[in-house]
């Protein structure tokens, strides 16, 4: 099987994230960047399928600035075979619609793709629909929020799990899958894997290389615009007391004073 995994570098959710006050775009320099956790699960899902199907190949695809190479290396050190890095200054500030179109073009540079796997929702944008949008552009079936993936010949089945419940989905390959939190526990890269990753091929693509129309990407061509962004004044601390055996009663009294009970 020929599998492409979409990965994304995101601000670490354990650090404080900021928006750039001038254009309302995420300030990626203000925070530590990491391979999004859900992407590690997507890579793991691809590796599991590769191991079960001889002759498979896993390509990691990311769109992002130069430093997104760290995310690529992490995925390669886990066991992916090669990477495509779509990197062009013109991509900065691209919205979700433009991103889906650009990713679809970049996927098109990989020959004979059977399966595209992505995380179900990145921890920064949280649009939660890029995989389905890419599928729509490519005219492929989208099997999203996968908790289980089964591939049998040319048929793929996914157990989709969301807050609303479980849905069993089936489709013919090629297809696009997004994975949820419960799909697997991603492996840690071994020392051997980390060393091998340094020698794996990474193709860097510009807009022109991928055949992306420059009028469909970038902040200036975004279909929506942030007109203002401001940090909310931090909530200030209220009263804090030591429990002297009546802590629960004191909370109750506070709730009564606030008319909450």
């Amino acid at each position: 099987m020929n599998i492409v995994v979409l990965v994304k570098q995101v601000p670490d959710t354990y650090s404080e994230r900021k928006l750039n006050p001038s254009d309302g775009v995420l300030d990626r320099d203000a925070t530590d960047a990491v391979l999004d956790e859900i992407n590690e699960r997507a890579v793991e899902a691809a590796l599991v399928l590769k191991e079960a199907n001889d002759g498979s190949e896993v390509t990691v695809l990311t769109m992002g600035p130069d430093r997104a190479t760290d995310a690529i290396r992490k995925a390669l050190s886990m066991g992916a075979d090669k990477a495509v890095h779509l990197s062009d200054e013109a991509l900065a500030g691209t919205d979700a619609v433009g991103t889906a179109k650009a990713l679809a073009k970049a996927i098109g540079t990989v020959d004979g793709v059977d399966l595209v796997i992505a995380g179900n929702e990145a921890s920064d944008g949280r649009g939660g629909a890029i995989a389905a949008m890419v599928a729509d552009v490519l005219g492929l079936p989208a099997l999203t929020h996968a908790r289980e993936i089964t591939v049998d010949g040319s048929a793929v089945t996914v157990k989709r799990e969301t807050d609303e419940g479980i849905t069993m989905l089936s489709a013919e390959l090629p297809a696009v899958i997004s994975v949820g939190e419960k799909i697997n526990e991603p492996r840690y890269p071994s020392f051997k894997g980390i060393m091998a990753a340094k020698k794996k091929p990474v193709a860097t693509l510009s807009l022109a290389d991928a055949g992306i129309d420059a009028s469909e990407v970038g902040l200036a061509n975004a279909l929506s615009a942030v007109t203002s962004a401001s940090p909310k004044p931090p909530k200030s601390a209220g009263e804090k007391i030591e429990d002297e055996g009546d802590g629960g009663a004191k909370i109750a009294a506070f709730l009564v004073s606030q008319k909450l009970i």
Partner: protein, 314 residues
């Protein structure tokens, strides 16, 4: 006045609350037209409720096609073409966002996602768990707007509810649904819709001890939440996780038991109207955003609070 399309979310013949919020919000932009996509006979069950909440038109798109979410996307894309709506409103949910994203990319429309307020001038987003407020606007006609549940106060209004049948054409390659098991709501309110949330953290110490969190929640008629630390330790299921990698909640009252208050958690609850914290550690960051904090053992404070509330109720 221009039409505003509202995608109706429904389960087993019942309209979901989020749809009434959409119909209310739609009236600030134009005339609400409800779009019902579902198996034959669906619209008949929903029509009265939709008209009572302001739907002037009801587009009836009934199909037994099993293509996953594609009927919704195709029907809305067709109506964008034929009705030139001012906007398309869809509720934020896993399905809602997927339909919205596909519709936006297919029709080259702006997608304004996870909006908490809207007006003729634009929309309001609450970003990074409420740390930022951003205003945004669409640069295209017919923007697709997904509205976060609980953002709008529902107002009933009589609408004509004129039904119009829409043909559903599903083409292309699609995933098909072979079976569904919807989650039937438990006794507690839905976490993201609850007006009171009681959450437990690492300080709860074990899955069994989460009973103290549940006990307090049930006395208050509250939803139960958990911090990432508690979920990762296996004390409580992931679907109840509040925080950056879980749910974002904004209830009237949030009670944090044994939660230190890492940014990861605060991002999911700091827009709560009133925050109460109980933690042994006087230095825990949760106290920085708590309206009332008790430094103490949650296993004595929470049961006492529960008894006090029960006393007042009786």
């Amino acid at each position: 006045m221009a039409e505003v399309l509202v995608l109706v979310d429904h389960l087993e013949g019942e309209i979901k609350k989020s749809t009434f919020e959409l119909l209310t919000a739609a009236r600030t932009l134009g005339e609400p037209s409800a779009v019902v996509v579902g198996p034959a006979g669906t619209a008949a069950k929903l029509a009265d409720g939709l008209a009572e909440h302001g739907a002037e038109k009801i587009y009836v798109a009934e199909t037994d096609d099993t293509a996953f979410l594609t009927p919704e996307v195709s029907v809305l894309a067709g109506l964008i073409e034929s009705a030139s709506p001012a906007a398309v409103l869809i509720g934020v949910s896993a399905d809602g966002k997927e339909i919205a994203g596909r519709l936006a990319v297919r029709t080259n429309s702006a997608w304004l996602n996870d909006v908490v307020g809207l007006s003729a001038d634009g929309v309001t987003h609450s970003v990074f768990g409420g740390a930022y407020v951003a205003e945004a606007k669409a640069n295209t006609a017919h923007p697709v707007i997904t509205l976060r549940p609980g953002s709008v106060e529902i107002e009933a209004a009589a609408g004509a509810g004129a039904q119009e049948t829409v043909t559903v054409s599903v083409d292309g390659r699609n995933a098909s649904v072979t079976s569904r098991e919807p989650i039937v709501g438990g006794d507690r309110p839905e976490l993201t819709e609850a007006s009171v949330v009681v959450s437990g953290g690492r300080g709860v110490g074990s899955a069994d001890d989460f009973g103290v969190v549940e006990g307090l929640a049930d006395t208050l008629g509250a939803a139960v939440g958990a911090s990432r630390a508690a979920v990762d330790s296996g004390y409580y299921p992931h679907q109840f996780q509040v925080g950056q990698t879980g749910k974002t909640v904004s209830p009237q009252l949030y009670i944090a038991l044994g939660i230190s208050g890492a940014i990861q958690h605060r991002a999911g609850m700091q827009t709560s109207k009133t925050i109460i914290a109980v933690n042994k550690d006087a230095e825990a960051p949760i106290f920085e955003i708590a309206d009332f904090g008790v430094v103490g053992d949650l296993f004595t404070v929470a049961p006492q609070l529960k008894d006090e509330i029960a006393k007042r109720k009786s």
